[in-house]
Structures are given as structure tokens and as C-alpha cells.
């Protein structure tokens, strides 16, 4: 029994080490990397990250030591900080947007010891899921007691709802865009007229002033 369990454990251990399909990038020690997510309001965002450190002895990337963590800071479209927390070497952060717009997700490592980064860089695997991709369907099925077919239909409904939300947000964005465009147009028109008027006034002033000056100096 113990042999079987340990075999299963070893197999699962290999599963842990299989490379993840998520995107990864390298980050320097004091470097801060920021990502921007433009999302409609009342949308949930889940971010998962995994860090690996370069190990000179084995010549490969190994999971980072528990002491090394990442600081995650999230700002809403009004540049107000909505989340600022320290997580371990593997972490998961969640937030829900209350205003539509560009949210900024910033990551930097909390490492203070330069020696830890002797190899150079930290490898961070990052996966950010937005909207209905954050739903945990097995959990929903268990909670609402849905069969597989019902669950699939529920997934389709969630997808369509998210698309609708995005479209509404786009409509609102397009309206603001149109207003900015019209405001620019107005400004260009008024500035041109104002400039022409000031130019004419300045010319008239110049000529009158010089004329009176010459008359005063008895040249004319």
C-alpha cells in the first residue's frame, strides 16, 4: 500500500515539474514589470504566477526558495491602488473591477539579497484570466448540481454574457472617443479664428504705434 502510494506520489511529483504552458518572462532583481488590463466593470480577474530561479549547479531553472516572494500592486483606472500585497514564490491574486477602464497590474520581487540573484534573473510564469475564464466550472456544477450538458450550456451563457458586457463597454468608449474628437475639432476651429484676429490686431497696433512714433520724432 505504501509502495503504491509512494509510486503515485513520485509520478505526481513529475507532473508538478512538467513545464507549464503559460507564458513566462525574466525579471531582474529590482525590476518592476507592469501589465495593463482594459476591462468592463464588475469583471473578475484572477492572476496566477509561478517563479523559478536559475541554479548554477544543475544549470537549469528550479522552483524558487520560499523566502523569495513577489509584491503585487494593482491600480484602478483612476490610479488608486486597489491591491498591494506580498505573495510567496507561487501566488494567486484576484480582484473585481468596479469601474470600467485600464487597470494596471505590477509585479516586482521582494528580494533584498543581491547574492540570491547571482545567476542573473528570475523566471516568472504568469497567467491572467479575465471574466468568464475565471469561473471554476466543476465547482459550479457541484454547487448547482448540474449535469454535464447543463454545465456546458451554462458555460456558453457565461461566454455570451461576457461578450455582451464588452460590447456595452465598447459602446461607452466609442461615445467618449467621439466627444473627444468633436472637442478637438472645435478647439482647432476656435484657435485658428483667435489667432487670425490677434494677428490682425497686432498688425494694426504695430502700424499705428510706429506712425505715432515717427510723427513724434518729426520724421513724417
Amino acid at each position: 500500500m505504501t509502495v503504491v502510494a509512494s509510486c503515485v506520489g513520485v509520478l505526481l511529483l513529475f507532473a508538478w515539474f512538467t513545464p507549464s504552458k503559460a507564458l513566462y518572462f525574466h525579471i531582474g532583481e529590482t525590476e518592476k514589470k507592469c501589465f495593463i488590463e482594459e476591462i468592463p466593470d464588475e469583471t473578475m480577474v484572477i492572476g496566477k504566477y509561478r517563479t523559478q530561479l536559475w541554479d548554477k549547479q544543475t544549470g537549469s531553472f528550479l522552483p524558487a526558495t520560499p523566502g523569495l516572494g513577489m509584491h503585487v500592486e494593482i491600480k484602478d483606472p483612476d490610479t488608486k491602488v486597489i491591491l498591494s500585497r506580498q505573495y510567496g514564490s507561487d501566488g494567486r491574486f484576484t480582484f473585481t473591477s468596479h469601474t470600467p477602464g485600464e487597470h494596471q497590474i505590477c509585479l516586482h520581487s521582494n528580494s533584498t539579497k543581491m547574492a540570491l540573484f547571482a545567476g542573473g534573473k528570475l523566471r516568472v510564469h504568469l497567467d491572467i484570466q479575465v471574466g468568464e475564464h475565471t469561473n471554476n466550472y466543476p465547482e459550479i456544477a457541484a454547487k448547482d448540481k448540474l449535469t454535464e450538458l447543463q454545465l456546458r450550456v451554462r458555460q456558453l451563457l457565461d461566454q455570451v454574457e461576457q461578450i455582451q458586457k464588452e460590447q456595452n463597454y465598447q459602446r461607452y468608449r466609442e461615445e467618449r472617443f467621439r466627444m473627444t474628437s468633436e472637442s478637438t475639432n472645435q478647439r482647432v476651429l476656435w484657435w485658428s479664428i483667435a489667432q487670425t484676429v490677434i494677428l490682425i490686431i497686432t498688425a494694426i497696433w504695430q502700424m499705428r504705434h510706429l506712425k505715432s512714433f515717427f510723427e513724434a520724432k518729426k520724421l513724417v
Binding site: 500500500m1 502510494a5 503515485v8 506520489g9 505526481l12 507532473a15 508538478w16 512538467t18 513545464p19 507549464s20 504552458k21 503559460a22 507564458l23 513566462y24 518572462f25 507592469c34 501589465f35 495593463i36 482594459e38 496566477k48 510564469h125 504568469l126 497567467d127 491572467i128 466550472y137 466543476p138 456544477a141 448540481k145 448540474l146 449535469t147 454535464e148 450538458l149 454545465l151 456546458r152 458555460q155 456558453l156 461566454q159 455570451v160 461576457q162 461578450i163 464588452e166 465598447q170 468608449r173 472617443f177 473627444t180 472637442s183 478637438t184 478647439r187 482647432v188 484657435w191 483667435a194 489667432q195 494677428l199 497686432t202 498688425a203 504695430q206 510706429l210 512714433f213 520724432k217 520724421l219
Partner: protein, 223 residues
């Protein structure tokens, strides 16, 4: 016995976490690329699959960036200079980490905001929710073969909706780019109009003053 079960449970939960991490096939990110810097992202791809990369520069003075993709062996597969957007479909012939790089070193002062999307498709058809949810709840055995058809059409709808979502993301990036460009324009128009006015008025005053000075000096010279 209880300890063994507990240990197995711990390992299973680790695998569950990793499995949930592994399901991701599409990633999209928007990030700021500082002036004179380069950023690279790595994506693992399977053999005989396709990798589709779509990118757009949505803010920044020149609205362009250098783009390149390197294979796991280090060969440069795609190289583009100073483009504002692009779409590339690659056949991932080898398993490994493909490197996707954005380079802004040609620009000294302007930082760029770049949006990119990676869509992976493996040769073995997307299992989708099929395998994940098998055995979730009791299947309706009586209608099983008809159920397969329904299942297939739901799967197809699911894939189409994912595709529409991706298209929406692309369109959103285009709109964001146009909006940023317009806002820059507005600022530029206001600034240069003010500058023009100030210059005009200064020139007028200088001209008048210079002419007056000319005559004042001559007067002094004569007398």
C-alpha cells in the same frame, strides 16, 4: 494508513493546482515598453501545433516597434522592423519555448504600450471541456448517442464564441490605439496653438522695439 492517504491527498491537490495552471492555451497581455528597451516573452508550444501571435502598438509617439520570434533552438523565425501591428501564424515544428521579442531601442524618448495575444492550437483536436468534466454527473444513458451530437454542437459553439472573444480583444486594441492617438493630438493642438500665439506677440513687440531703438540711436548720433 491515514498518513499515506493524507500524503496522497496533498500530492493530488498540488497536481490539481498545476493542472488548472496548465489548461491555459491563450494569453493576452498589454504592457509598457520603456524607451530604448527590449522585452521578451517565452511560450511553450507542442510539436505539430500552431502558434498564432498578434500584436499592436496602442500608444507611443511613433506607434511602432521591432518584432521578432525565435525558435527554441535560437533561429530567428520572424523579424519585422518598426511595424505598428502584425499577425503571424507559425507551425511549431518542435517542442520547446518560443521567444517573442519586442524591441524599442530605436526610440530614445518615447515609451510604447504594446498589446499582444498568443493563441495556441495543438494538432490533437482541442479536447476542450470534454475530458475535464467527464464523469462529473450521471450521464443520461438512454439518450447517449443523441447526446453526442448535442455535445459536439455545443463544443463547436464554444469554440466559435472563444474566437469572437478574441476578435473583440483585437478590435478593442485598435480602438484603444485610435483613442490614445487622438488624445495625443488634442494635447498637441492645444500646446502648439498657445506657443504660436506667444511667439506671434513676442515677435510683434520685438519688431516695434527694434525699430524704435534704431531711430533713437540715429538721433543721438546726429546730435
Amino acid at each position: 494508513m491515514a498518513a499515506v492517504v493524507k500524503q496522497a491527498f496533498v500530492w493530488m491537490s498540488f497536481v490539481a493546482v498545476m493542472a488548472s495552471f496548465n489548461q491555459n492555451r491563450d494569453s493576452e497581455l498589454t504592457f509598457l515598453l520603456p524607451a530604448g528597451a527590449a522585452e521578451c516573452f517565452f511560450q511553450t508550444a507542442q510539436r505539430n501545433g500552431t502558434l498564432e501571435v498578434e500584436y499592436q502598438v496602442i500608444a507611443g509617439a511613433g506607434m511602432d516597434v521591432d518584432f521578432s520570434i525565435f525558435s527554441p533552438q535560437g533561429f530567428q523565425l520572424i523579424s519585422e522592423f518598426r511595424r505598428s501591428d502584425g499577425v503571424h501564424m507559425l507551425e511549431s515544428t518542435e517542442y520547446g519555448d518560443y521567444r517573442i521579442c519586442f524591441d524599442n531601442s530605436f526610440s530614445r524618448f518615447s515609451e510604447k504600450m504594446v498589446f499582444f495575444e498568443i493563441i495556441l492550437e495543438s494538432a490533437a483536436n482541442d479536447d476542450g471541456p470534454n475530458d475535464e468534466w467527464a464523469g462529473l454527473a450521471d450521464p443520461e444513458n438512454l439518450l447517449e448517442y443523441k447526446l453526442e451530437d448535442i455535445r459536439e454542437s455545443i463544443d463547436s459553439v464554444h469554440r466559435q464564441l472563444e474566437r469572437s472573444r478574441q476578435m473583440q480583444t483585437v478590435l478593442r486594441a485598435f480602438e484603444a490605439r485610435d483613442r490614445n492617438l487622438l488624445e495625443d493630438n488634442l494635447w498637441r493642438v492645444s500646446f502648439w496653438s498657445c506657443a504660436c500665439l506667444v511667439v506671434m506677440v513676442m515677435v510683434a513687440i520685438t519688431q516695434v522695439y527694434t525699430v524704435r531703438r534704431l531711430f533713437d540711436d540715429r538721433r543721438r548720433v546726429r546730435s
